[in-house]
Symmetry: D2
């Protein structure tokens, strides 16, 4: 196997040296006043990134911990929940919604498509019993996005709680938690923020807290408990259990870089990387996975593979022969992903991705014009800078 | 507040530069073959430390995650469980045992005492219905240990499952998982191993797996699921969710240092640090928290405070005035702890701890002979090296 | 100015995370036995890389320190020295040779050419008074190499001392110090070794030491003194002055990586990177700086620029507009360099270099087929791996 | 040999994690505009620390490089130079002053003494031919200081150039370069600044530059050349040779910490550490090396050893048996040094030093009251914080 030369995966992403330095800060005792201050600064900086004044909770585990914790806390037996399904994470949400006792409604489309705000509106008009809506803002495995602004605001106006999985959405697309009235929002450091995996970043609206407090089944005294964090840490300054000190330090380093660059600037950088990657992929002769360009996410460009080429084979060829780590479809379909996320959303990282993927596919029998692809990407880069 | 000069807390502990360098290794994609190999090496190295051939599971969260996960997986309704309580963690285990539906039996002693193997034997003789025994090998908040060797072996011989919380026990005391037949064993990197918090290290015996598989309530599709890890990761090489890449790299660095030094040598180093710290504390005029010397843990020496001195006040004085971070009792009692754990189990770190605690207590009104304490500690050091 | 995305300069090079971790090891006192052992291990590892049993001296400054120190120590008034000039470093050597009192002979060719072994042979036949020959094995600014094997061996057979500047030659081309009988050899960590600048690595043959000891003007009690190092450090274990602890630790990390990969393997990796970079540059329509392919160095591919394009302008455009740091000619001529050195000698780093340079030149008015260049490079990569 | 637990040496010192992180910043090309900006910021920050508007030159080697460079540049044949000798570094300066052709005058005292300003005044009155005065502000090997304020100002008023070696003086004592009119001032990062060794930090007054420019023997085209740095780097933005990128990054990290704390605050911290170390040493029964307390340096407390105890033996015992690295006399006399420098000037580091030295000496046969020593140190600490 070739030595790793480039990590261009769809999260965990390659992180900057400053973020690594953050992870390597001396480990402090979690009750050292310095560390407690660090933890609180992180909460405030996450709130800045999310454009919210809601409570921020930093859970000590991968984002999925906060998704499970949120659903367990918010769902009451028989509650009507509308779940939008356009990818594997949305699908998974639905299983949990049912398993935790809700009455599950779903609008499902192909994993190369997105549920439009108009379909949601119709459904909500027809089902006034819906109390909560779940959506995945950015389906990383398929590289598609939801119209969070429209759907979120619509729910806010109707008094419907919103449960938003935006792990790879934050900083890859606009995320205005307060303006759009998003109630329970989960993200993670290991995507567009350019941090390491290991923490779940959550914002919880007052309305969501009300719902949770009113729910006798909301976990308490559990690793899955939001209430423990709310009452012990936010309330009394006692951690419910030992936080991941290094991860918190690494998170702060990543947040500092993003805030120094500017939230809007980071979003714009991802959009620029997407433009050049899409142009390159198209010119090379590749087909996008998504049905429509408008629903493609800015942090990862998903490429549809021909049936005869298995996506895991493609990924492994690029890694083993060329030392370039891409991501495959992870169950979303026969696709391969060019990621431009966090510190790899930069321009020439996409050139590497295009060249490595192009040559891999050529090796595996696809005729492609790699040169044209690289040229097209460079044209965008030259024109926009 | 004085700038932090020394972290002498009872975990998270100050870690070595090599461990920090491990945490700062480049973040790899979790499905990069390199990272998967790292993860598997870590499992094997944890098994080496635990002296076991059982499955090792590295859960992506603080040790308490694995405690909760284990109890939820092992407990079936009405099952008779004997829980030994000699400190706050043991007490907490009991709450969970009940909450998860078991029939709770407890032998409880003061938090300055330990439950002897003989009392356990009597109880088991009288209660043949007991199916599982829970104990905390090392109650970090009070600095006491259990007789895991005797109690564990006794349970093994009777076919009783053992659930062992030894977060601060491993590497601070002998832990022979296979020889003693321990079934479910939980430890963490942030104590005697000298790593960062953020992972839970578990070994699960075949007998424990049988029990879990037979339990329809054992969590699945959950952050708390051992079965997900067993089937997806150990079985199919798929992570149930993204692991904490930096924490895993940091763990390997800490394990490498411990294994290079030698498991027995690390244990001996902790014992030596305990001898000098105890000698120093005693000569200074301090009173141990524990009733008997034999039940004091090798990784932290707990000191009983006079009633008029509050343990949080003592801790804060040492930190704010002297820049030395100690740990207080965390609910175990009015005690303060001199930690000698991981990289701080070394000799002169204890001198710092003794001097800082001694002077803090003097400032707060306790007459103590700090000089005699330091001299006594140095006598041990000089004699033993 | 665009944020730096890639450092593809001709030394200092971008270094690996392991090397950075080496630089960040705790600073030890230079007389700590641990550090002295580190220093000695570094000497032995440098000797391994140089394939020599000669003394190795690690001077605490950039490579040029050792060049000056060597010439000052070896040159006696009126001594006949033949200096080969094919680039700016060779030219500089000549100035020093004269300034330090020798009788300077030179064979000089254009900086896009190399002095052949045959011309040297003729010259030496005609000038039996020559006592020392100086050459630059790899002229980094122009990207050309010397035939060190032939010329070195020829000198050895005639009893002529050899003074070899091979700062960017070592690990970029075969360097067999003992077999070729090279007397005074200087290299540095910041080129093909993939380390940080700050140290000069020297090997000194017994014959060279004899010459130095016989020279009353050889510096003593000076930062430029080789004898101080020989007598104090190699002789008595006393450093003549405080060594650069972090640089030494970083050096060891870089050496460890090179030796783990294998000296021949590192050399082969540079050669492979050269093949694909040359193929790419040629297919793109670029012209090599060097007159003949055989004299091009494996660590950097120099491109001849058209007169109307200034090399500094090209470099700055790539850096400021694209965030890719290339190197220009540094006085060697109107050329720009694609470096593939140390950790950037890897394959896709060259793709980045080709694309960034190609697009920069296109922006500045040169018609180039960038796509064909990238394709050609990938063809080599695909064929060879 | 015991594993290293504490580095309490008199430079290189143990450095902070932030400084290590600085050393581990990615290596940039030295002509990257980012790095050039870093280099210039470092110059400005050094000027801040030195309280000067003079040119600052950062030479790429240990401080001694700048001492040699300065003397070679400033000394003209026959020039009358008064050198103050109160330790090994002052003695060495004299050798160079003579060797470089000056007419050497010296006032020499024992290495446990200091040359008073009054003696200097008398000498200057009697020798109006003196053109330059050399002094070592802080003789690290013996732990004594000079009265730089008085002597420097006196020279300034008389138009005598001052050549000041204050490698361990800066940040350990007030250093007002402009107010006192100091002409050529050399310091280094590895002492009170808490950085790594490898760079020499120099300030050069306009008057010193005049003198250098007027000196035909001032080195040019040499590693020892100040003029190269002045003309190429300060003048044209071209480095005379590749700078030590990692060391410069580490320097900036150390400077940032010092400036954030405040120059006066760092000086005060060293003074406080000295007070408690002296109190502890005295109470323990140790004898200071220096004849008078007023001439003891704030960064290292030198202890006079009884004749029968060799200082190297003492140092090695502390290191080998206790893992504590102290410094011995390095030729200044039979003394051992308790260092409190940079990040180890903090309080409890001195407690470690006192305890380790005390017990070492007791092991070697000296009767000492270690306990009283630690108590006395803690008394100071308690009273002053």
């Amino acid at each position: 196997m070739q030595k790793l030369e480039f990590t261009l995966s769809a999260g965990p992403v390659d992180v900057s040296a400053q973020t690594l330095a953050g992870l390597a800060r001396p480990i402090q005792y979690h009750y050292d006043d310095d560390f407690k201050a660090t933890f609180r600064r992180c909460e405030a900086k996450v709130a800045d990134v999310l454009r919210t004044t809601n409570d921020v909770i930093i859970m000590q585990g991968e984002a999925i911990l906060a998704l499970e914790a949120g659903l367990r806390a918010l769902i009451t037996p028989g509650m009507h929940v509308l779940n939008l399904v356009q990818g594997v994470f949305g699908k998974g949400t639905g299983y949990w919604v049912s398993a935790f006792g809700a009455n599950l409604h779903e609008i499902e489309v192909g994993y190369d498509d997105a549920v439009g705000a108009d379909r949601v509106e119709e459904y909500l008009d027809a089902h006034p019993e819906i109390e909560m809506l779940c959506l995945v803002a950015s389906e990383t495995p398929s590289g598609t996005v939801s119209d969070v602004a429209a759907i979120g605001s619509m729910c806010r106006d109707r008094g419907i709680l919103t449960f938003i999985d935006t792990v790879s959405g934050v900083l890859g697309m606009e995320t205005l938690v307060d303006r759009w009235g998003l109630d329970y929002v989960v993200t993670g450091p290991q995507k567009c923020l350019g941090g390491a995996p290991g923490l779940a970043l959550v914002s919880v609206s007052p309305r969501a807290w009300e719902k949770i407090y009113a729910n006798p089944a909301a976990p308490r005294d559990s690793y899955l408990s939001l209430l423990d964090f709310k009452e012990k840490w936010l309330g009394e300054g006692r951690f419910p259990y030992t936080p991941s000190v290094a991860d918190v330090n690494g998170l702060e380093a990543a947040l500092d870089q993003a805030l120094a660059e500017g939230v809007d600037e980071v979003i714009a950088r991802h959009a620029a990387a997407q433009r050049l990657t899409m142009a390159g992929a198209e010119a090379m002769g590749l087909t996008f996975w998504a049905r429509r360009r408008e629903i493609m996410s800015a942090c990862v460009t998903s490429i549809r593979l021909p049936e005869e080429l298995d996506n895991a084979t493609v990924r492994d060829h690029a890694r083993h022969k060329y030392g370039v780590m891409l991501s495959h479809g992870q169950g979303a379909g026969n696709l391969i992903r060019l990621s431009h996320m966090g510190s790899t959303a930069g321009g020439f990282h996409s050139v590497v991705g295009l060249a490595a993927l192009g040559r891999t596919l050529r090796d595996l029998g696809m005729p492609l014009d790699i040169g044209a692809g690289v040229e097209a990407a460079l044209d965008i880069l030259s024109a926009e800078r």
